[in-house]
């Protein structure tokens, strides 16, 4: 079972709330990792911003970056 609670949707406020609404619009859900991270709102906002910068359009095809993410997660036996 989860060792840390995930923040309930009605407890999101401010910048985190806006971020999560964007998640919902884009992918239909809010990843549990981000809901867990939301215990520390500053980490949630900066992590999300960094995540988008890293995985989004850049100098390497997004498909290759996704493949690297999947490979790393499989090595770490973590579902992604």
């Amino acid at each position: 079972m989860a060792r840390i609670s995930r923040i309930a949707r009605d407890r999101f406020t401010g910048e985190v709330r806006a971020l999560f609404e964007k998640f919902l619009a884009e992918r239909g859900n809010i990843p549990n990792m981000f809901r867990t991270m939301a215990h520390r709102p500053e980490l949630t906002t900066t992590l999300t911003s960094h995540f988008r910068a890293v995985i989004g359009p850049g100098t390497v095809p997004i498909a290759l970056k996704e493949m690297l993410a999947v490979r790393v997660s499989r090595i770490n036996t973590c579902d992604y």
Binding site: M1, A2, R3, I4, R6, R27, G28, N29, I30, P31, N32, M33, T36, M37, H50, F51, V54, I55, G58, T59, V60, I62, A63, L64, K65, E66, M67, L68, A69, V70, R71, V72, S73, R74, I75, N76, T77, C78, D79, Y80
Partner: protein
């Protein structure tokens, strides 16, 4: 998410063992870099880095190292804190269920299910997804619904499950929804967790979608 960005099913399967899949040389170099960064102390041998350099320039290498590093961060965070898998993609979950019933191992599993059903058991529980902390479980169902209506199932350790509720069973909470096809309920999809109150509305919506997707496949197999 990867499929949305053009990664094929073959490539995704190949990522289980990249050395035995014909990835193009640039992708192979990048994947070897990812493996080296992720295993052990993250030392990347000179020959792997030299191969990477043949295919990518410095900004690209930095970008890939950031992806690999970030996902190691995510994975370690999730593994350490036991963050449950987010049921975000019903299509992917359904695909896993379908694959598990059609791949070689899945076929053997399924044959066993059919055999057990043949002995007169009404339900058989099949674990499809044992990795991680959640288990995607499929309850194969055969014959007419038991008393209590089409949304009620009775099976072994699962004493009573209904469409509208999670049921505590031996310390586990099972969210279970029926898979319906033209002729009625053809199976059940369940996700099991070991904590009370583990499921919310969005989880249920996802599992219901999975059940909807795999129902035709169940219908042809029961």
């Amino acid at each position: 998410m990867a499929k949305q960005f053009g990664v094929s099913d073959e490539a995704l399967a190949g990522l289980n063992d990249p050395e035995s899949h014909p990835f193009p040389p640039d992708q192979r170099a990048a994947l070897r870099f990812a493996d080296a960064m992720t295993t052990g102390r993250g030392e990347v041998p000179d020959e792997i880095f030299a191969d990477l350099r043949r295919h990518f320039d410095e900004p690209q290498i930095v970008e890939m190292a950031a992806v690999i590093g970030l996902f190691n961060y995510f994975n370690r965070f999730n593994n350490a804190l036991h963050v449950a898998i987010t049921l975000i993609d019903p299509e992917v979950l359904a695909q896993q269920a379908i694959q598990a019933t059609t791949t070689h191992a899945g076929q053997a599993l399924w044959d066993q299910v059919v055999m057990l059903l043949g002995t007169g058991r009404r339900f058989v529980r099949v674990e499809l997804h044992g990795r991680g902390r959640d288990r995607l479980t499929l309850l194969a169902r055969h014959g007419s619904p038991p008393s209590g209506g089409p949304d009620t199932a009775v099976a072994g350790e699962i004493e009573a499950v209904t469409r509208d509720g999670a049921t505590r069973t031996a310390g586990d909470i099972i969210l279970i929804v029926p898979a319906r096809h033209a002729s009625g309920v053809v199976g059940v999809v369940a996700v099991q967790r070991d904590q009370p109150g583990a499921f919310d509305e969005e989880d249920r919506a996802v599992v219901e979608r999975v059940a909807e997707i795999i129902a035709p496949h169940l219908a042809t197999r029961t």
